[in-house]
């Protein structure tokens, strides 16, 4: 897999700490929703650092859009979200990962469970479902700390029929929010219409603790482990 030249063609803020960067990548081979890329930065003296980022949009020519959460103490993300300007270039390669992907042609219902910026690869799947014009039933449960950290809020409020998005706030909710504020509970994931009997393809993405808890809830509810795909990021204690 070769390193490709990626030119930043657009960038916009999603929240106060997350930005979507749109790259034009010469020779991009295309990707599936859920895959990620490696981005490499090189300093003048030859030192380089690379990190993986999920792709936020389905395939569209040479365009690769990444939504990047700035990690305060990070090495690569503060540069990408704070220093890199439109017209400048980085190196990128991919797509990486052939497991955590949604195949547009798969007719099985899809249950997506996102914690924080774990929404990014799942949003790529939702957008692919919208673009495809298929009627595959989708349900998203998206757990986020506060309205300030909500990614893609406007788009999620305006989804076509057949895609149901449920927001869960863990610390602070907007005034009109009527649900319980707190961590994801089994009742958030388990509903009659989305029981294990329907055998949905489950995708869980977020910080490790969140993914562990959500995947355990699904297993306890009877979902077969092989139908539950997980992607974890960020530090973990134990």
């Amino acid at each position: 897999m070769n390193w490709l030249v990626a030119t930043l063609v657009a960038s916009y803020a999603e929240t106060s700490t997350a930005k979507t960067l749109v790259f034009d990548v010469e020779g991009w081979p295309g990707h599936k929703p859920g895959q990620h890329v490696d981005v490499r930065l090189t300093a003048e003296d030859g030192y380089s650092a690379q990190r993986s980022y999920s792709i936020a949009t389905p395939v569209a020519g040479n365009t690769v859009a990444l939504t990047i959460q700035t990690v305060d103490d990070g090495e690569v993300s503060p540069y990408l979200t704070g220093v890199l300007e439109v017209g400048e270039q980085v190196e990128l390669r991919g797509p990486v990962g052939g497991w955590f992907v949604w195949e547009t042609t798969n007719p099985a219902p899809v249950l997506l469970i996102a914690g924080g910026s774990g929404i990014v690869p799942l949003m790529s799947m939702i957008r692919a479902r919208v673009d495809s014009g298929r009627r595959t039933p989708f349900r998203l449960v998206y757990s986020v700390r506060s309205p300030d950290e909500l990614l893609y809020g406007d788009e999620l409020r305006d989804l076509p029929e057949g895609i149901d998005a449920a927001l869960r706030y863990t610390r602070k909710a907007p005034q009109q929010y009527k649900e319980r504020v707190g961590r994801l509970a089994p009742t958030d994931l388990v509903s009659e219409s989305w029981s294990a009997d329907r055998a949905p393809a489950c995708f869980v993405c977020g910080p490790t603790g969140f993914v562990e808890a959500a995947a355990d809830m699904l297993v306890a509810d009877g979902h077969l482990p092989f139908r539950i795909k997980t992607e974890r990021f960020g530090p973990s204690g134990s």
């Binding site: 897999m1 930065l41 650092a49 090495e75 540069y79 220093v83 973990s236």
Partner: protein
């Protein structure tokens, strides 16, 4: 020719002699798995090695614990770019487990409780380079990290160190395992940066 990123200097949180190219050091112990964490009870735990002739050696938990243990302190490197130095384990050397196995195999497929597989050259499991590990940091290995027992093959990227390992099958040829069929490298040497197929 790499593209120089104007104004990028990097944090250089590495240790040049011990951190392979493209890696950064972490104090955390991130968790990566493809599905839910299996909870394998030691009473039901079993580990087997199946030779290319179909002969099977099998150990239950107590039989495995009765084998001579080693306490390797090793550096580990994940393909997702983190490296962790001086991790402390306890486990059985693969040399011990393979001692009674007659084989001329060149490769191994490791099979895990959750259906995960990964392929390795048999040579990377021998000569004091690999363990069946059941303790980390002086405590029983946590399920999130592959407990009750996982492979520990620190010379290769950590996806080769199969969590919840239950079987090794010896082979006369290399066959891709789970991640290898999904685009990752068949060998996975961190010092050669063998991350993906074709690297």
């Amino acid at each position: 020719m790499a593209i120089v990123s104007k104004g990028f200097t990097g944090k250089r949180r590495g240790n040049d002699a011990r951190t392979p190219p493209g890696q950064y050091l972490t104090e955390d112990f991130p968790v990566l798995s493809v599905g839910p964490t299996p909870r394998v009870r030691t009473e039901q735990w079993q580990f087997s090695i199946v030779s290319e002739m179909g002969e099977t050696q099998r150990w239950n938990w107590n039989e495995m614990l009765a084998l001579p243990a080693e306490k390797p302190t090793v550096d580990i490197h994940c393909v997702t770019k983190w490296s962790k130095l001086d991790t402390q384990w306890r486990g059985v050397s693969l040399d011990t487990l393979l001692a009674g196995v007659a084989t001329t195999a060149t490769h191994v497929m490791a099979h895990s409780h959750d259906g995960y597989t990964t392929n390795l050259p048999l040579d990377e499991l021998r000569h004091g380079k690999a363990w069946l590990a059941y303790e980390y940091g002086g405590k029983p290995l946590h399920p999130e990290h592959g407990g009750p027992a996982r492979l520990l093959v620190p010379n290769l990227y950590f996806w080769k160190s199969a969590k919840w390992v239950e079987k090794l099958t010896l082979l006369h040829r290399d066959e891709p395992g789970f991640w290898e069929r999904n685009g990752y490298h068949d060998y996975g040497d961190p010092w050669q940066e063998q991350r993906y197929q074709g690297d």
